[in-house]
Symmetry: C2
Subunit: 327 residues, 2 copies
């Protein structure tokens, strides 16, 4: 820019002003995409409700609904089939008539790096009671936001049946930096209070501490309650002070929180069963190979991480030239 | 999956069948997004047309249109201002009244790694004549596709005024692998013939080769025409044979081609001026830092590359907790 003649610099400024106008049009585009997402959420919901009913044994699917073509295509010898059948019968005898799909959401959490990183051993018995995760969008005309609803069956840990986390978004260019606008951004999030049953709050732990009396020199043991690592801290994100300034730790926690919220909304809820079976991860890996990229071992590991990356572009269009025919 | 009791496996299959239905709903969603993109393309077009008019000196912007607030905010001492003014006057004297914004698109190409990688020295004099790049979407009801139009001013290199590249897309789940569906994919692309002026075709070069007569042993020099590296090979992508199978080289060329096509459509055309000035790259870097990620030198380099990454998610919502206030 500096080396340009003044008359040219002037014209470039005119282009930049046009670009600001583009950013404001783009903001309207994303608002309409959000409307579309709301519209489609209603179309997905009956399918998600059925999923939930099957998971929690409120509905037993018919044979037709359970027919999976890939199963038939697997070529097994009769001997292998017989062996598999015997093994299954044995397993069925061992476990006594499981209801629905036990530990469905807990398994999803364990299979996704981004979520399993938050999981502590003491969270697992609680998450066995998680029966559904729903995404609710803000009403039309309201500020853009979405709420994740975690639905639990009655349990010994807390009395809530639903835990919520709401993410407020902004879809407009910042006047002071309009060119950084790149679609809706999560701006803030709020959790919800958890009504823990006495002695069951896994987000706190008691530690014993010895105190020495300054004067008398006697020692006593005091019990102190301190924060404990837990997935359930997800429902008490760091508060942002009035001046908007956060310490480094809180900022990192919130940045990770926004990624997780975005990922649950965009990937986990829409395709939970694929994270339960692991197929969501395998499929993406296949894709990667087909693109003709050569991965050495080091890169291979990075790819695996990308599958759980919230920045993974669900709308990317660059694709491998599979089965493509010139027309 | 293997370790699950048979009755549970059955129910998981029911969920997978529901998931296939979700994929088909998702395909309809992306078709509607494409319609929205078409609608918004019409809203952007007057701004892009004005941009083109300014670039090619068909329109001289008014003082008001050229006022850029950031300029005023820069706090310069009077002395610095005076010096800058003198320098500019000197520059203006040196260059004689440049028209529009010279080499606008060539500069954009040079500033974007993905594009500059394709550029050869002999391409540059030709790309100085590039006056606009437009994106045209397929008509409603037609198979999904988009065309990049490269508009050139009359020049000595070829007689075409527009070079085109069309990308056909598919937005439906593949029956054999419905879970890999993740939005529209580019499936094929077609270029256009370039009517090169005699001797100006930079995509070919002549090499001289010595041949020895087998019988007589005499040596003669023959001239042979062979392909030459050039950006303009972009308009003759590898053809995909009937059976859809490509050799490794062609596959890599097409994979890169799809990335470039996608990137030109999604990033370059909508915000060309920011790639001209370099702001598109700087802004993204700023973002990265604000997210609280610590970059060491090595990562720093990678980030810079990401800016030109076509997989960069234009719809990502995870954002830094900037100026966030709890409500």
């Amino acid at each position: 820019m500096e080396s340009l003649p003044k008359v040219v610099k002037r014209r470039v400024n005119a282009l930049k002003n046009l670009q600001v106008k583009c950013a404001h049009i783009e903001a309207k585009f994303y608002e309409e995409v959000h409307e579309l997402e709301r519209k489609y959420a209603a179309l997905y919901q009956p399918l998600f409700d059925k999923r939930s009913d099957i998971v929690k044994a409120a509905y037993e699917p018919t044979d037709e609904e359970c027919e999976w073509k890939a199963d038939e295509e697997e070529e097994l010898t009769d001997e292998m089939k017989e062996k598999a059948k015997l093994e299954e019968e044995k397993k069925d005898e061992e476990k006594e008539d499981p209801k629905g799909i036990p530990e469905f959401w807990l398994t999803v959490f364990k299979n996704v790096d981004l979520l399993s990183d938050m999981l502590q051993e003491h969270d697992e018995p609680i998450l066995k009671h998680l029966q559904d995760i729903k995404v609710k969008f803000s009403d039309p005309g309201q500020p853009m936001s979405f709420t994740l609803e975690f639905h639990f069956e009655p349990n010994d840990f807390f009395t809530n049946t639903v835990l919520t986390k709401t993410y407020k978004m902004r879809s407009e260019p910042d006047d002071t930096d309009p060119f950084s606008f790149d679609g809706p951004e999560i701006m803030c999030c709020t959790g919800c209070p958890i009504e823990w049953t006495k002695g069951k709050n896994v987000t706190l732990k008691t530690i014993k501490k010895k105190q020495k009396h300054k004067g008398r020199g006697t020692v006593r043991t005091v019990t102190k309650t301190v924060p404990n690592d837990s997935f359930f801290n997800f429902f008490t994100p760091p508060e942002v002070p009035e001046n908007g300034e956060l310490d480094e730790d809180s900022e990192a926690v919130l940045a990770a929180d926004f990624e997780i919220g975005h990922f649950i909304r965009e990937r986990i809820v829409p395709r939970a069963v694929l994270y339960f079976t692991g197929e969501a991860i395998e499929d993406d890996d296949d894709d990667y190979d087909e693109e003709g990229e050569e991965a050495d071992d080091e890169e291979g590991e990075e790819e695996a991480d990308e599958e759980n990356d919230p920045d993974y572009d669900p709308k990317k269009e660059a694709a491998p030239p599979a089965e493509c025919k010139q027309q």
